[in-house]
């Protein structure tokens, strides 16, 4: 049965890659699961020595997964991981098919899997005790698809309660809801944070969700804020506060305090599961580059473009700050409303575009919902907007209007990012 599933999965994979010229990151798994719903369980039972890590959270999954992969590779540990976006059950099954022989044996020491928020409970049903779970953060994101974050958190809670002492949890010590979730697990807990001097925000931004105490619903008091609701807090009523945490001196070219959190989580997971010294992890992260679309630099017609995937209010706000702090004057915002972007675009009103008042920016707006975004920006008092619904036209015009040795920061939603990358590089990735 297992042989059959792997065989047809591998065949499907070959077909998709050679005939359809597409990346086979979900369909082979889908087909294998159709033929054997227990495919994942069956294969993994044949791979007892394989260490499994799940990476979950709203923002930073792909970067953290790739960072951990990078640390392990640099330290000569055989590891496999899923492609970004292939983060549902069929993505996990595809990953297994791709990396196993016909007997279901995976020739790696570690399997890293970034998990979609909705699929996290389903995947924990298939694999009850992964060796580690990294819990990054929870922000409002695509409410039409994921629902409200309390709903997500409730579902995660009951799944985490079912893990046993074999599963370590590496959790963000500065996200109230994540701390509450981590406490539900029975295994070892490692809380991580970043140094206080990096927590520079002066006040909570508008689109924050988890500022009430998870224990008693009292309003939390923040003494330091990294971004959104991530920071140092305490509850005056029930004394809930950040747990003791580990902070590392991460050296990286990546922008944003959120990435310091991501890289710290990866390094601590490497230490706890694979005995890699912190100093070795920190060193290997020095030349780490994140996945496509995430702070990715592409040169197009002699202009340097920085892609900053921005798919929810918190992500968008942080990308805006990265662009502003790094002196980008030419900005392109690309808003689509396809299924992977979320059909509901009301979240653009939770983004603090008012931050752009501080400088003189050249702004181009594009995507299927370009005019809705232009409307949002005009109410933020921003003028001289260039609006082109067509992505290709927008990129071309923006590049043309950019003077020599200036670069452009592009903030796209997920599907817009994939399309823009295709325009820039001439090939599709997913």
């Amino acid at each position: 049965m297992l042989l059959f599933s792997i065989l047809i999965g591998k065949f499907a994979s070959l077909f998709i890659k050679t005939i359809l010229n597409r990346n086979a990151s979900t369909w082979p798994g889908h087909i294998a699961l159709e033929s054997n719903p227990d495919f994942i369980k069956d294969t993994l039972s044949k791979n007892k020595g394989l260490k499994i890590v799940f990476i979950a959270g709203t923002n930073g999954k792909t970067t953290t997964t790739k960072a951990l992969y990078h640390i392990l590779k640099t330290n000569r540990i055989d590891v496999v991981r899923n492609d970004s976006g292939a983060n549902l059950l069929n993505g996990l099954a595809s990953l297994i098919i791709k990396n196993s022989n016909l007997l279901g044996k995976i020739n790696s020491k570690a399997l890293l899997f970034e998990v979609d928020e909705n699929s996290f409970p389903l995947i924990l049903k298939e694999i009850k005790n992964p060796n580690a779970i990294i819990l990054l953060n929870l922000f409002r994101d695509q409410l039409d698809r994921y629902g409200e974050i309390n709903t997500t958190s409730q579902k995660w809670k009951s799944s985490l309660e079912k893990t046993d002492s074999k599963t370590s949890v590496i959790a963000n010590a500065d996200d109230p809801q994540i701390i509450d979730l981590a406490k539900c697990a029975k295994g070892k807990k490692i809380f991580y944070s970043i140094n206080d001097d990096l927590k520079k925000e002066k006040k909570l931004s508008h689109a924050v969700d988890s500022t009430n105490c998870p224990n008693c619903q009292n309003k939390l008091e923040y003494s330091r804020i990294s971004y959104s609701h991530i920071g140092n807090f305490s509850c005056s009523k029930c004394k809930f506060k950040n747990p003791d945490s580990i902070k590392l001196d991460i050296k990286t070219d990546l922008y944003g305090t959120f990435n310091t959190y991501n890289l710290t989580a990866a390094a601590l997971c490497a230490e706890n599961l694979f005995d890699i010294k912190r100093s070795d992890s920190i060193q290997s992260l020095e030349d780490f580059k994140p996945a496509f679309g995430r702070q990715e630099k592409i040169t197009y017609k002699n202009t340097e473009l920085l892609l900053l995937l921005s798919k929810n209010p918190t992500g968008f706000n942080e990308s805006l700050k990265v662009a502003i702090n790094n002196k980008y004057k030419n900005l392109v915002f690309a808003l689509n409303d396809k299924i992977p972007d979320g059909r509901d675009i009301s979240w653009i009103w939770d983004v603090d575009f008012e931050l752009l008042h501080r400088g003189n920016f050249h702004i181009t707006i594009t995507g299927e919902r370009a005019y809705d975004l232009a409307n949002r920006l005009s109410y933020a008092g921003l003028e001289n907007l260039r609006v082109y619904e067509d992505l290709s036209t927008a990129i071309k015009r923006a590049a043309k209007n950019t003077s020599n040795n200036q670069s452009i920061a592009i903030l796209p939603t997920y599907s817009a990012m994939l399309e823009i990358r295709k325009i820039l590089t001439g090939k599709s990735i997913l």
């Binding site: 409410l143 039409d144 939770d350 809705d372 232009a374 949002r376």
Partner: protein, 259 residues
Amino acid sequence: MKKQNYELTVGWLYPELMSTYGDRGNIIVLQKRIEWRGMGVKIKRINHDSKADELISCDILFMGGAQDIQQEIVQKDLNGTKGKIISKLIESNTPGLFICGAYQFLGNYYIDSYGIKIPGLGIFDMYTHSDQAGKRLIGNAVIKPHQLPTNNLKLSNYIVGFENHGGRTILANKDLAFAEIIKGYGNNGEDTTEGIHYKSTIGTYLHGPILPSNPELADYLIENALVKKYGKEIALSKLDDTYANKAKTNILMRLKTSY
């Protein structure tokens, strides 16, 4: 009286607890559209720890939707003096906009998924029950507002927005519906009604947010607030709504609604 002598206060009910679907957009649009007409505007944030009498000076009321836990906190708070003042303001024609969870609060009661009846403020003659199967009604929506002799709404066009709700609302009198649903689900997915229009106040399931996508509705609230406060109609100057109109035309075309 000069324009700069007019001033409106917008009461933003529970800006932290009831603000999930970009609801802040409605406040930004009200604020800017009053300012751009050269009038004064104050945004008063009413939280659960605010004094109830802060509501009395409000000329427009707004409240957005939220998650269940937040709604419980608000529910308790509204059962006190604040609920009574809100009721008095709405009954005396203070314009208001209540979205999704806030809209449900203003009805007679809500029956939750356990069959428990939670009393509402009883301002709108309607009730809401959660869906047995837990199915949420989600998607882009187009509605056509009713012209009623009891309101001075002059909206010839469609209103567009996005709905995402688990509750099903049943109006006691369907003639009070804010609009007829053209695309989407509306109050309950069955009787083609959407929202409620009672005196100068509108309750609706549409976010998007609704006012940025439909600026004429924002102006309707502003006009009514001026009539209530100054006792006469004050003409609002025309604003440049090119982006909002283009965005609306695009979504109407996509949903195949003739414009």
